[in-house]
C-alpha cells in the first residue's frame, strides 16, 4: 500500500508532464505543417558555420 502511494503520484506526474509537453507543442504550432517538417530536415543550413 505504501508503495502505491508513492508510485501513483509519480505515474500521474509523468503522464501530466507528457500532456503538458503536448499542449506546449500544439500552442507552439508544431502541428501546423506536418508535411513541411519532414522536408525541412533535408535543408542544409550550415551557411553560417
Amino acid at each position: 500500500m505504501n508503495g502505491v502511494l508513492v508510485l501513483i503520484p509519480i505515474a500521474l506526474g509523468l503522464g501530466l508532464a507528457g500532456l503538458a509537453a503536448f499542449f506546449w507543442a500544439v500552442r507552439d504550432g508544431q502541428f501546423e505543417d506536418l508535411d513541411g517538417a519532414s522536408m525541412r530536415i533535408l535543408i542544409e543550413d550550415d551557411r553560417d558555420g
Partner: protein, 714 residues
Amino acid sequence: MTAHAAIAAGEQLEATDLAVDGVHCAACIAKIENGLGAIPGISAARVNLSTRRLHVVHAPTLGMVELVRAVEGLGFQAHPFVATTDGANDAERRRLLLALAVAGFAAMNIMLLSVSIWSGADEATRALFHWLSALIALPTVAFAGRPFFSGAWAALRHGRTNMDVPISIGVVLTTLMSLYETATGGAHAYFDGAVMLLFFLLAGRFLDSAMRARARDSIVALLRNVPAEALVIEPNGRSTRRPAAELVAGLLVLVAAGERIPADGVVETGASDVDRSLVTGESAPDPVTAGEEVLAGTINLAAPLAIRVTRAGDDTAIADIARLMESAHQVKSRYVRIADRASRLYAPAVHTLAALSFLGWLLAGAGFHQAAMIGVAVLIITCPCALGLAVPIAHVVSSGALMRQGMLVKDGSAIERLARVDTVLLDKTGTTTLGRLVPAEGMPDDAATSSILFTLACGSTHPMSRAIAAAAQRQGGVALPSAYLTEQPGLGLEGEIAGVRCRLGRPDWTGVGDGVAAERTAIGYCIGDRPACVITLRDEPRPDAVEAIAHLSRQGLRVEMLSGDTAVAVADMAASLGVAAQARMSPADKYRYLEELQADGHKVLMVGDGLNDGPALKAADVAMAPGTASDVGALAADVVFLGDRLMPVPLAIAAARRTMAVVRQNFALAIGYNAIAVPLAIMGEVTPLIAAAAMSGSSLLVVANALRLRRAVR
C-alpha cells in the same frame, strides 16, 4: 526587384500570407525562404508545405505586388490568398486536438486504476482508486466535454435535438452517479466509461475537422484572387493604376491583351477578341471593335482596348450575378445530416428506456439507489458511442479515398447529399468541355502546309492561334524561316514564309467570303496564290465525357446540359454526347430551371465552373466544379475535381453511395449491439467492466467496417 531600404530599428512590421504553387521539396522551401530573406525589407519568410502557403513578415513599404513579384523572381507562382473563415476553423480544430489529448490521457490513467479494481482490489484500495479516478475524470469531463455540451446547448435552445444531447446527458449523469458511488463507498464507478466515450467521440470529430481543413486548403490553393486594378487614362493623357472598386461611369480605361476587363463599358478605340466563357458560358472568343459593349470579368485576348466605363462596381453584370447568388435560397444549409436525423429518434427512445427501467425497478421493489444505478447503466450502454463514430469515420475514410483520386470534398454532409442525387445538370463550356478550342474540320494533312500554319500561329498567344499551332505540330509541322511576321490586332497574322506571303486569321480577312456558318467558330488561311481555306474550331469535350455521361445514366441519373452558349454550339455538343440540352441560358435561367426541378422533388447535382453557374451551384442540393473553375464556382461547389477528365463526377456519386451504404451498416451494427446490451443493462447485469468492453468493442467494429471504404473510388 526595386531596392528598398533595410528595415529601420523599431519600425512596425507587417505580415502577409500568400498561396504558392510548385513547392514540393526541401530545396524549394530553402530557395524561397533564403531567397526572400535576402531581400531588403523582408525580415522573415516561412513556407507551410501542407497548406502551400507562405507567411512573410516585411516592412510596410513592400506591397502585395512587390512580394508576388519577388516570389516569381525565385521561380514560383504566388497569388494573394482569398480570405475564408480559416481562423475560426483552425481554432476549433486546435481545441478539439487538445480536448482529445486530455481525454486520451485521462482514459488511459483511469483504465489503469479500473483494471486494478476489476482484478479485485479490496475496500480501502478501491475507495482510494475511485477517488483518484474522480480526481482525473472531473476536470477531464469539464474540459474535453465542452464541444458536446455547447453543441447540445445550442440545439436545445432552438428546441431541436442532435447527437450531442444524448452524449451530454449520458456523460454528465454517469459522472455524477459515479461521484455519488465514490462518496458513499459503492462498488461500481463508471468514470472509465464516461471518459473513454469522450475520447472515442472526440477522435471522430477531430478526424472529421482535419479532413475538411485539408480539402479546404487544397481548394484555396486553386483560387486566383487577382488584385482587381485598372489602368485609367486621365483626360490630360496621363495614366494611373487604380483599384477596380474606385472606377465610375465615364472613365476611360486601357485593358492590355490578356487582362481581365474591370468594368462594363463600350470600346472606344481598338479591335480585339474577348473571352466571355466564365461570364456567359460562350466558348468561342467574340470579336469586338469600337462602339461595341464589353462586360466586366471577361478577358481581352488579342490587342489593347480603350474602354469607356458605362457601369462599374455594383451596377455591372457580374454584380447582378453576385446578388442573385446571395439571394439564392440554399437547400444545402437546410439539409439535416443523417446522424442528427437518427438522434431525433434515438435520443427520446433511450431516455424513455432509461426512465422506464428506473421506474420499473422502483415499482418492482428495488431501492431508490439500485433503481437509479440501473437507469444510469442503461444510459451508459446506449450512449451513442458507435453511432457518433459511425458517420464521421465513414466520411473521413471515403473523403481520403476521393482526395487521392483528385476529388476534394469540402465536408461530410456533401457526401450524404451526393448519395441522394437523382438529376445531374452539366454546364457546357469548361465543365463538359475543357474550355479550350481545337480544330474540328479543315486542318491540312500535308506537312508543308502544316509547317506554314505552325510558323504563322506561333506568332500569337490568341487561343485560336494556340489551337492551330498545337494541331499543326501534331500533323508534323515544323518552324520555317520567315522574312517577316506581324500580328494585325483583331484580324490575324500575316507573314512571308519560305518566300510566300500568307495570312492566318478572320475568314473574311483571309479571303474566304462565304460558305462559313456564321455561328461556328472559324479561322481562315491563305498561302500565296492558292485559294483560301477555312478551319472550323470547337471546344473539345473532356476526353472521357461520353463514357462519364453513359456511366451517370447507368447509375439511374437523369443528365441534362445547360449552357449559355449559342444554340448551334450546344446542339453539336449535345448530339455527340447524347444528352438533352438547353442553350442560351442566362445565370438567372439556370437558377430558375434548377429551382423548378427541386420544386418537383428532384435532388439535383449541379456541375459547373463559371461565374454564370454561380447561382445554380449555390442553390443546388450539391454542387461540383472542376479545378479550373472561377473562384466563384470553386467556392460555391461542395466537391472540386482536378484534372482533364469528367469521370470524377460519376465516381464521386458512386463513392458517396458506397459510403452511405457503410454508414447504414454501421447504424445496423450499433443497433444490433444495443439489442444485446440493453436487455442486460435493464436486468441490472451490467458492471463497469462489461460497459467498457462493450463500448470499445462496438467502436472498433464500426471503425473497421468504415476502413473498407479506403477503396471506395472505383
